[in-house]
Symmetry: C2
Amino acid sequence: MNLPKATLTPAERERPTLKTLARLSGLSVPTVSRALSDAPDIKPATKIRIRALADELGYRPNRAGLRLRTGKTHVVSLVLGTDHDLMNHTARLINAVASALRPTAYHLTVTPYFPDEDPVDPIRRIVASESADGVILNRIQPRDPRIDYLLARNIPFATHGRREACSTDPYFDFDNTAFGRIGCESLARRGRQNILIVAPPPTQSYSLHMLEGVRQAARATGIVAEVLQDADSDCPSHQITAAITRHLHQYPQTDGVLCASTSAAIDATVAVESGGLVLGDTVDIAAKEAIPFLRAFRRAILVFPEDLMAAGHFLARALINAIDASGEPAMQALDTPSQLEDI
Amino acid sequence: MNLPKATLTPAERERPTLKTLARLSGLSVPTVSRALSDAPDIKPATKIRIRALADELGYRPNRAGLRLRTGKTHVVSLVLGTDHDLMNHTARLINAVASALRPTAYHLTVTPYFPDEDPVDPIRRIVASESADGVILNRIQPRDPRIDYLLARNIPFATHGRREACSTDPYFDFDNTAFGRIGCESLARRGRQNILIVAPPPTQSYSLHMLEGVRQAARATGIVAEVLQDADSDCPSHQITAAITRHLHQYPQTDGVLCASTSAAIDATVAVESGGLVLGDTVDIAAKEAIPFLRAFRRAILVFPEDLMAAGHFLARALINAIDASGEPAMQALDTPSQLEDI
DNA sequence: TTCGATACCTAAATCGATTTAGATAGCTTC
DNA sequence: GAAGCTATCTAAATCGATTTAGGTATCGAA
C-alpha cells in the first residue's frame, strides 16, 4: 500500500492515533474505532482496509485514553511479602509473570508489603487507587482475608498456593502434600526411620499440605517424623541451624531431614555435619528447591525441583482469564513434584 | 467542616473527582484544579478552602486523566536482566525501590529481559509504548548502549552501577574498587599471599572496578592475585566449583580467595574444602554479599556486606529527581564497603 | 465619570479512546 | 412512487484532568 505518509507529523509517525487513521482513511474516528473492534455495523471491506492501515502504521491504542474511557488499567499487580528467603524465588516468579505478560496488552507492577503491616493493606491501596485490573498473591493462608476482601469487591485475582475453600479460585500450586509424602518415602527407601521435618511457617497453607503428606507417608511406611520446633524454613539461617542442632541432641536417632527450602537444606547440612553425621551415609537430606543449587553444594542431597517459571506463566494466564473471561471457569493447576534423578 | 455529603453518589464517595470538588465548593472545575496546583491567580482563601475539601474527601487525581492530558505516566520501570544469580538480590532491590516509591505518586513496573535478547530492546519497548517516565538499570557496562539510547531521547534514568563516562549520570554504586582493595588487604593481613579472584563477568563495569582495587592492593602489599579463568561469579555453581578446583591444582600455593558474590563464596568453600584445605587455617575466603548467609554457613569467611536497600531507596529518589527536577544536578552515591566485624 | 488595571473566576479546547444516538443512502416492497 | 428497512457511516457526549483565552467585578486614578 502506498500511503501519503508525508502528511504525517513527526508525533503521528512515532505514535499514530485513531485520528491519524481516520484522516488517512477518509473515515471518522468512531468508524475507525468500531472497525478495529470488529463491530457488526462496519463493512467487511472497510474493516480490512483499516486493519491493514493500522498494522502498517504500527497503531497501538493509547493506554491513558483507553483507561480513562473504559476504566480498564491493563495492569496487573504482583503482591509480594518481603521474604527473608535467601534464594531468588521472588525474582524468578516476577520474571516468569512479566515474560508471560509481554505478548499481551498487560503490564506488571510489583506491590511489596512488609512483615509489620496488615497484608490486606497493599490490596486496599490497589483497590482504592484503581491501579490494577487484578492481582496475583502468594503466601496464601487457609483462611486468607485478602481473598475474602477481593471476592467481596469482585476484583480478579490468582494465587500461588491455595486457601482452604479454593474450589473456584484461580490458582497454581506445587503439590506439597505429594512432596511431603514422596520426600519421606524417598528417605524411607534409603532406610531412614527417624525423620526431622523443617516445615514452612505454620500459618501458610502449604505447610499444612506438606505435613499432611508427611503423615500419609508415616502411616504407609512406619517411619517416625518429627517437626522441627522453634524454627521454620523461612527463619534466618543461624536460627534454623541452631534449632536443628538442638533437635539432633534431643533425638540422636535422627537419620533423615526433609526441608521445605534450599536454605533450610543448607542449614540442615551445616547442622548434621557439625554434629558428626555423614551425609549420604549416616544421614540423608531431602529438600524442595526452586533455584538449582543443592546438587552442586552436596551431591547426596535428594532434590525435588519446583518450577517457578511454570508457576508464573500459569498465574499470568489464569489472571488474564479471570479478568477478560470472567464467565469462564477458574484456571487451576497442581504441579506434581518428582525427585531429580542423577544425571 | 460540615459537608453536604448526602449529595455524593457512591462513586464520588469512593473516588471524588475535580467535578465533585467543584460542585461541593460552588466553583468551576478549572478553578479547583488551579487552586490545588497553587496557581497565582487564585485567592489564598479559596486555595485553603479547596485543599481542605480535597483532603477531607480524600481526593486523588485520576491517573488516566492526568496521563492523557499531560503525557506523564507516573510510572518508573526497573529493567532487569534475568540473572543466574542464586541469591535474592533482585527481589530485594525491587522491594527497596517499590517501598521508596510508595509515598510518592509513582508506581513501579518491572521489565525483565533475557540473556538471548538485545539489552536495548526492553528500553525500546518502554519508549515506544510511552509506558514509563523513567527507568532504572543495573548490570551496567563501561560503554552501555542503553544509556546512549536514553540520553539521545532525553529519557530520565538512574543506574545501579556506573558506566565509564558517568560524570553526569544519576547512579548508585557499591565501591567495588574499594572492595577489591580492602578485600585483598584483609586477606594479606591474615598472611595470605597467593589470592584467587572470582570476579564478576568481565563485560560489567564493576568487574573492572574490582580488579582495579585488587591491583592497587597487590602493588601496596606485594601479594600475588590471579583471576579465575573459565568462570565468573555469575556462572552456575558447578562451573565455578570446577574452575576453582582446577585452579587449586594448577596453583597449589593458593591460600586465599576473594569472591564477588555469595554463591561464588559457597562454591569456593566447597572447592577448597574438598581440596583438603581448611578454612581459616590454611586458606581464607573473603566475599561481598547482599543477603546475609555466609557467616552462618562458615563463620570464618570474611564478609563485606552490600546494602541493597540503600541502593534501591537512593535510585528511586535519584530517578524522581531526574524526572521532576531535570535542571538539578544528577544524584550520585558511592557506597563504601567495610568488613563485617565479629559480633 | 470613565478609563485602565488588577484580582479572580469561568468557558471552551484538548489529550485518545468508546459509545449512544442519529443521519444518509440504497434497496425492497406494495 | 412512497414507505419501510437495512447497511453503513457520522455527530456528539463522555471519561478526568490541564491550559489558554476570555469575562466580570472592584478599585484607583485621571
